[in-house]
Symmetry: C2
Subunit: 308 residues, 2 copies
């Protein structure tokens, strides 16, 4: 059976495209690998796959008895539930080092850059010296534009920009910023979507000081898009919090044009927001100017506040 | 203060030389880094440093408040005791993925090869494209010869051989096997060494199913060298076991010419050896033919036997 390659739960564009791109690289290296995904495609990812002519990878949530590889995470909470019942072969990531362990040596490559696509670009080009197929380059470029919010995110590094420029050339995309805005608009699509689906569109659970803390994020070209939905979103966040025995559920409403985030908080301890960001909640939310990255600007201060 | 780079506790040649080689690479990349070590040099490592003109790196066992990088391990039990009081910046390794986690994204590169020196060779040559200084190449070559037991170990891969050949050229070592035998003889030096020091010469504690299991290894050109010392070694192993509240302490007496290991076992559950290796202890020891690698042939079956 083929080695299955999976991004994290509630997959985003990076997780889905990295699974495809890493599978292509593995095949070039002689490994029989196929991409998978742990959940539904968001509208941005669907647009990206359509543009470059890819079908949605197979939905896989069970890796027991299978060989598998992970991209875009190394956290147990974001891996398939029975991750320890299969054989993990490799990890490629750009996040903090998570709590997945193995019994045998494996390939694990993480770099502190803005996107798994950038790490994969270096693996293709520098480490394994394999040509990147045109369509695969398009996927990796799209992931970089998405994860770095068109290079505006605090997570964006010079390596991400350099990789994006090289990939745009290979993919034959002459105006990558225009393509990035098209993606951002697709990502902003909220009309007619159930609040629950919006919360889980780009959602991750974290272990913070022994407590489960969920953080969702919606990247929007304008917060006006969700102005009428906040009550419904908040009510659903309270449900998600209660169901999962979570300490807190946060939803980042990130305005990619104004470059900041309105943070909605359903939490057992509202003081934790003040402790983490130096700004207290006003009712159920607070505006965090300049905050666009969950990974770099939300998770570390929250983990500190939780004493993790 | 400089970034300190450390291998594992009870450092071997790979841990010490990888700290030096990775520090040189970091300096070439503009990072102010210095190598350190967590313990005393073994006779082989002392010989290697002398041959290539290096002093012993600084002894560092406390990283609180310091920036640091780890080489040759990613396990909490092998890291400095207060690893979580400093800021971990990078990991380069070739073992199983351990339980060290971070709050921020960092560089983490592990590959399933026989030696950290081989991973560093790829980082120098392929990823960062920096020239390897002649003496650094000598260190890295020596680590590969040591860790792969002159390419005989089950952990040895074609990548290790290719790296060793390239490094021998850079270092100007025309007969690397002769140099490897010279190192092996130095590693075999046991005369006049206290049993405790022999146990800890190349020793690691592991968490196996919640129990602490220590595994030391002596690589010897002949088991005759320790024939008269087994009673004393065993008595000391029992002490080490009691002191550390360990479930088991194993000592691998590895005959690198006969390519096998006499395993001494001080354990609360002698049956675990049969369970792991399909061969029961005869008294306090058993011969395991073909077993030379702790990482690949001891740890995985033991972890399985412990249900970890």
């Amino acid at each position: 059976m083929s080695v299955i390659i999976l991004g994290h739960k509630s997959p985003d564009t990076d997780s889905v495209t990295a699974a495809i791109a890493f599978a292509e690289l593995q095949k070039a290296l002689g490994v029989d690998a196929v991409p998978g995904r742990q959940g539904e495609l968001n509208p941005e990812t669907a647009l990206v796959l359509e543009k470059f002519g890819y079908a949605a990878p197979e939905l896989v949530t069970d890796v027991s008895g299978r060989k598998y590889m992970l991209v875009d995470h190394s956290d147990i909470k974001q891996a398939p539930d029975n991750w320890d019942q299969g054989e993990l072969m490799a990890i490629v990531d750009h996040h903090k080092i998570g709590d997945i362990t193995t019994g045998n040596p494996i390939f694990f490559c993480a770099m502190p850059v803005g996107c798994t696509g950038t790490v994969l670009y270096k693996l293709y080009t520098d480490l394994y010296k394999k040509p990147i197929p045109e369509k695969v380059a398009g996927l990796m470029l799209s992931a970089i534009l998405s994860d770095t919010v068109l290079f505006k995110s605090a997570t964006c590094t010079p390596d991400d920009k350099a990789a994006a420029e090289a990939l745009a050339k290979i993919a034959g995309i002459s105006d990558m910023m225009a393509w990035g805005m098209e993606m951002a608009k697709a990502k902003s699509a909220v009309e007619g979507v159930a609040p629950r689906d919006l919360i889980f569109r780009d959602y991750k659970d974290f272990d913070m000081g022994g407590k489960t803390v969920g953080i969702g994020q919606l990247e929007l070209v304008s917060l006006d898009l969700v102005a009428d939905m906040k009550d419904a979103l908040y009510a659903e966040m309270e449900k998600v919090k209660a169901e999962g025995n979570r300490h807190s559920v946060f939803l980042m409403l990130t305005d990619i044009m104004k470059e900041g985030t309105e943070l909605l908080a359903a939490t057992d301890d509202p003081g934790v927001v003040d402790k983490a960001f130096g700004t207290a909640l006003q009712g159920r939310s607070v505006w965090l100017d300049g905050v666009m990255s969950r990974k770099k600007q939300m998770v570390p201060p929250l983990q500190k506040a939780f004493g993790a």
